[in-house]
Subunit: 388 residues, 4 copies
């Protein structure tokens, strides 16, 4: 197995994008718990995100969600973030919270509703020009709850038409990433349920469109790393939404439910050329900290990605290939497991310290007093959450 | 196969309990859509429930959810319902919407939180005395999202202790039914995840405790009718929460996702003695009409249960047993399918008409003008939903 | 809803292909039970298949599995089948039972093993020329059991190369259909696990390649009719392998586990132009009659497909579209369910009799004495099964 | 976190029982691959098992499967094993490979078939007296493939009756462990599908009966460690069948598919008192080495159990409890993960060497030449597998 030192340099440019909404309240249909210190504004969300980057050096970008993060002056917001060492990243559209979208948005039977949803994406693109964002991420809640409620085929055709219109509006440096999701909030069918659908749709659009893979959006038993390998092979893996799940779209901390799966995913990313300075794959988090503290929840998440990336880089690739070619099942598996079972945490702590960062970011954040300060300062106002 | 006439009399006493909350708004974590005419009060919910019973003759009871349906004068509420031909049914407790319950209720590590949850159940029992309800239904959101977050074993012991305290407070005619649920809102573990846990807990309590089976609360692939048969055999099937699902706890209209499964469930109910005047099994609905109209959604639901009950009663039981004993796989399956594929709807329409009911309750309700009237009248106020 | 008579003519040309191997023994890894009368030769399999067609008028083709059904003289076999009113259909290749394929066939790291598997397909194509078959169906057992055992990406590239070589050998009238399967016999990853992979591979091949959808080869909760609609939209649905399943690839009688799902699938087939004289979608069965009698098992299967096709044709499409466009969830669902709940069996019996067929094919076959005759006659020899 | 040295002594008495059938050939319904050196006799299986114990010091017992391992002289077999340092362990009955059991064994409608199956268990008990085994393990293939095929309720009653008869024949030191399985080889329903059924059945039998938990026998998403905790709490966890799975009952090497799950299971074992000299929980493997070498497959398996046991013992229990009580979600989770991410392999290697064992058992076995020797010597005869 390679020594940690030999792979350390590959960790240098790792950058994970944080979702602004992870710092607001979230929950289930049963209850959204509020917490002292929760941001009331996008500026407070960005301030919290800056903490994650300060203690880890891993998170230089914040993704926006429109309209939750709408402001009057995006140039000012960009400067605000920049002053904290952050860039504004992916712009996420929202076509699921307006009453008009009850029966669909880009797929709706009513052309006026479709146009409203298209216009929303035009607005997002306009914001991207101002924020300097390159990626427009589309996740659709479109779907139906009952067989017969909608015309599956017609909806797919309308989706293609709507996406084509949006795609045409993209700026030269822009990308469109289309996220798929197996179920929820629609229960019978979703209009972009699987990577195949997203792939077919973005392929029809053109080179600036690719697939967003959210690790929580698959049926039970799905081999996600296979999809990673396949999309990289097809040149259509645009971005990740990292999180983890035990059953549904739980949106738990990435790596929390199945760390070995995260390792395998990152191994295929590395194997397939999706990691490193030449790759255009964007790494984002998409998580809901329903019961745990949000800032340390994000810190824990980016560390998990870093730790598993390090393990993936440690795989002895030539030895693995030799064992695979020899039909040595246990040997090949053992080479992979060697990397997974290696405790990279002490190495990473030392590496962090060598770069002027805290060896233990979780402890350093806890000791910083930031959490107590925001709990004291952020009194009154409306805590941010889904819908605000 | 028996003629419809020979089983018609068995349909006479069918009674399905409606959940008061089905008439309020519901949705997903992404969005709760509101609808014109949605009730603002428990009285309006009961009025809507009365419509379901008026057009179907199948739904003479309404289940309450505390605190959503709290009133000052339960005797008055009972009279209000009675005047509309309805009785007040199961009282459902709620230990998932108070901030205190973020980390559990009856299982919480803090004795004060447990006592608060126990006191809530004492209040529910007090309400039952006033409403004439016999069943206290406990569904717990208790659980954890992350491995290590809670002590699974200790939580189970505390659950047993809390339930014992509540059980001791039940009135002579009261029952406690303990619902299990595979996942949601907790994602890593729920404290009553399966029928085995509910069975073990209620068996330890005593004869007045039994299991509530919600048809949407199982892992994929679970054979629910087996559990029905087993619980009836063990004398511990207390009640049903009927609904249907494609993937998770979708809470769709019962029979909508898999009508054949509903048929098989009702066949095992009949087979095991869970149907008819001598049975104590309570049939309730627990559904969320997120996108469809609520009153006709409930009408459709009780009709679905009735139609599948009729089909289950039509199974030629002696012929089925003979085929089973003969090892005639296709013959036995064919006898069951004969009943399932029989279109009982014309028979039921005629039967309804013979009893002074509309032959087509869906059409009759639509023609009644009730929906337009409540849409006009129920202006202002706060539409009922989860949490109010 | 349309009257049955108005759709009856559309049933006339329905043709379902039977798999030769359905008449041989099958089972699980735990046990393969044998049965009196099981065929010993491909001729006996074809004779049994002819019974299915004789009693239903629905099954004029038999699919072959190579090498299980290899003969010296395919022209003679074609005449043998023709004399019984049958044509020889799809040729199924087998790259999972030779010791050489332990670690893969078309994806193997060893070029010699890949060539062996390619040569096998060349042989299949040669047989197709002799049998008059048009479809070459490729289902691969290729995959791995342990992470690291194989290189997912490299295997996919080799698959593409192998398929390209096979594709180039197809005759002018030939098609290649590539089947996907979620899991089994490989457990960690399969090389063609989902429709997306099959679609990406066959799209790269060309117009003569399309996807084979086996209804039992999906993850739990997958909406199969969506895939049907999508593949029809993309022009890449080549054929079906019909069967049903409760959990895994159970290969039960089609429609047995979830008749409503079969209905929904056939509705999307009709909706998307996959049914009728202009469609090139092939309807095949792929089932294992482990515990039930095989010939009546096949009769039951083709009848199930016919009955659900009739129901799908009965859907009032204009009314459905109107309800969908109006956002009438319950109305639209009700229109679909009306067709599903209609008991088409008496209509189909009368229709069959009008065409000189038995009204009740199951009873007619049972009364024919064929089963007793083959049980008596087929003594000695080696009963056919997987592997022979 | 405790130092490794402080938990090392608790590893001393760990003993994992090997299944004799793991050394024979196994596979899927598609193919069973044979391998040079595969045992032809139970003596050769035991010799192979002795290798696992020799290199790991962890596997002093071999479980037998009757009739696969039947011999004329069990006393001689016991001495044979003893001479190799092994004891004979659990006796596994087989009621799935005789033609008589096509429609059930202990649940069959025919009393004669039930008696045949009961007599088989009597024979197993007789063998236990001779081999010194204490555990009779019953796993049933009983179930049905089609709704209606069998009477679920009646089968359960007959199961109870049959088990009662078998239980009455147990010797004073004997135990009966009843294994449950979600699906396969029956597809529609299995007669002991879940822990609740096994628990209800063994509770009715008495103190000598308990549940066997096979880690591969659950629905997707099932929290297995919860069941472990619950059964330990109820005093009814008799034994484990360890293996791992990605989707169905894959019977892969334990810990291979989800090492974190294995860790969580072993943590609950330790937490609930299921580990150590006072526990009666038996640890067995039940795996199928379809594509990997069998002896090193077993070595890898027992090492995986040992490594995860060490990690589970390393959990800082007081700190964990404190964090749980404080509602510190991330803190509690972090304490658990600290133990999981600790690389115990170097510690275990040193510990092994201190006890005269090879530090790297996989490498030591590979270097021993045993595999080459058996490949050379074991020529001719009939390789052992399921069914022989």
């Amino acid at each position: 197995m390679p020594a940690f030192d030999s792979i350390a340099s590959q960790l240098e440019n790792q950058a994970i994008e944080l979702p602004s909404w992870a710092f607001g309240n979230s929950g289930t249909r049963f209850k959204v718990f509020s917490t002292p210190g929760t941001p009331r504004t996008i500026q407070e969300k960005i301030s919290d995100a800056a903490q994650v980057n300060e203690f880890t050096g891993l998170a230089p970008k914040v993704a926006l969600h429109i309209p939750w993060d709408k402001v009057d002056d995006y140039a000012a917001l960009r400067r605000f973030a920049g002053d904290l060492g952050l860039a504004l990243g992916t712009v996420n559209s929202n076509t699921f919270q307006d009453d008009a979208y009850k029966f669909g948005s880009l797929t709706h039977t009513d052309a006026a509703v479709r146009q409203k949803a298209i216009d929303h994406h035009f607005e997002c693109i306009e914001i991207m020009h101002q924020t300097g964002s390159t990626d427009l991420k589309i996740w659709l809640a479109d779907g139906t709850n009952y067989p017969g409620q909608g015309d599956i085929r017609g909806r797919q055709d309308r989706l293609a038409e709507s996406l084509t219109t949006i795609y045409a509006r993209l700026g030269d440096d822009h990308r469109l990433v289309l996220e798929y999701k197996f179920f929820e909030p629609a229960f019978y069918h979703t209009d972009v349920p699987d990577w195949g659908t997203s792939y077919a749709q973005v392929t029809a659009l053109g080179e600036k469109a690719s697939v967003c893979l959210d690790t929580g959006h698959h049926a039970p038993g799905t081999n996600i790393e296979f999809i990673v390998a396949q999309l990289l092979r097809l040149g259509k893996l645009g971005s990740f939404d990292f999180n983890s799940r035990f059953y549904a779209d739980d949106d738990l901390i990435v790596g929390a439910a199945d760390p070995f799966q995260l390792f395998r995913i990152l191994y295929e990313v590395v194997r397939g050329g999706g990691y490193g300075p030449d790759s255009t794959v964007a790494f984002m988090l998409d998580q809901c900290h329903n019961v745990e503290d949000k800032i340390p929840g994000q810190i824990r998440s980016v560390l998990n990605v870093q730790e598993m990336t390090a393990r993936a880089l440690l795989v002895d690739a030539p030895a693995l290939l030799a064992a695979q070619n020899a039909g040595d099942v246990l040997g090949a598996n053992g080479i992979l497991m060697d990397a997974f079972y290696t405790d990279v945490r002490p190495h990473l702590a030392a590496w962090r310290e060598s770069r002027g960062l805290a060896g233990d970011p979780m402890a350093a954040y806890a000791a910083s007093g930031y959490q107590a300060r925001i709990a004291t300062e952020r009194v009154g106002g409306h805590q941010a959450g889904w819908g605000a």
